[in-house]
Amino acid sequence: MPTNKAELDARFSELYRQHVRDVYSYSYYRVGNHHDAEDLTEQTFLQAYRHFERALRESNGRPLRPWLIRIAHNLAANFYRDRSRKPESAIEDAGLISAPHTTEALVEGREELKAILEGVSHLPDDRREALIMRFALGMDNREIARALGRTDGATKVLLHRAIRQLEGMVSANGSEGSGG
């Protein structure tokens, strides 16, 4: 444990460098646009900074990424509640805002990937979150469980059901499209 403020701040700077991309990716897929993702990322690190000392103390050396993502998760929930709305647009529309990297550019011309992104945005919140954590952030079951406040077993089931539901949605859309 850091014993003074300077050491604590240095540790937090390191945490920021290591995980700013994770928090930003999570935020982007939650809110669907770069503008709000940036605000959410900033608020997440501000809040994390305020509670960092306690989090370090209670983590017993475990990685702090799930704790950070949990903060972003809670802030995103408040974000929607405060504004009384869901994301204004599907993820694929967010590329209208200038950014150095967009998922839209990557999936351009790949109808199957667009269909997957569309499907993800229509999943129930907990399933969508689990998929974002697994596939966008590369978190394992244990990390996701900690971020969502669930058991490892419940998380495994949640992920399995999320993938199956999404696959069904994409498959159904594909059938509709091919059927004219």
Binding site: D9, R21, Y29, A37, E38, L46, A99, H101, F135, V170
Partner: protein, 116 residues
């Protein structure tokens, strides 16, 4: 695990590729945090400062590679300060004043720094 499942998960991984934050995200965050801290010291008095400690201490090292943020910070502070009296008149209390100040900082940081 069937190959169908594996294929679909590979597509899912491809669709949900990590999203890089804008290159100047940290610089903008520094501007906003520095501005917030300086303004808070002036007009918000004890508003959560003790609990927050000083965010400049971690965000500045994190943004150390970014050039030009210092000038942007000064400009944001100047512009936000210039509207202090108006914000105060429009606010019903310290919390609302804090909220309005944060909003102003965000707006000015976006105006002054590029790619936003």
């Amino acid at each position: 695990m069937s190959s169908g499942v594996t294929d679909f998960e590979a597509l899912l991984r491809e669709a949900l590729t990590p999203v890089d934050p804008p290159e100047d995200l940290t610089a903008r965050m520094e501007v906003r945090l520095v501005s917030l801290t300086e303004l808070a010291q002036e007009e918000l008095e004890s508003w959560e400062l003790s609990a927050m400690r000083d965010p400049r201490n971690w965000v500045r090292p994190a943004a150390a590679v970014v050039i030009g943020a210092g000038a942007g910070t000064a400009l944001v502070v100047l512009r936000v300060r210039s509207r202090h009296r108006t914000r105060k008149q429009q606010s019903s209390g310290p919390l609302e004043l804090a909220h309005k100040t944060l909003q102003d900082i965000a707006v000015e940081a976006r105006h002054i720094l590029p790619n936003r």
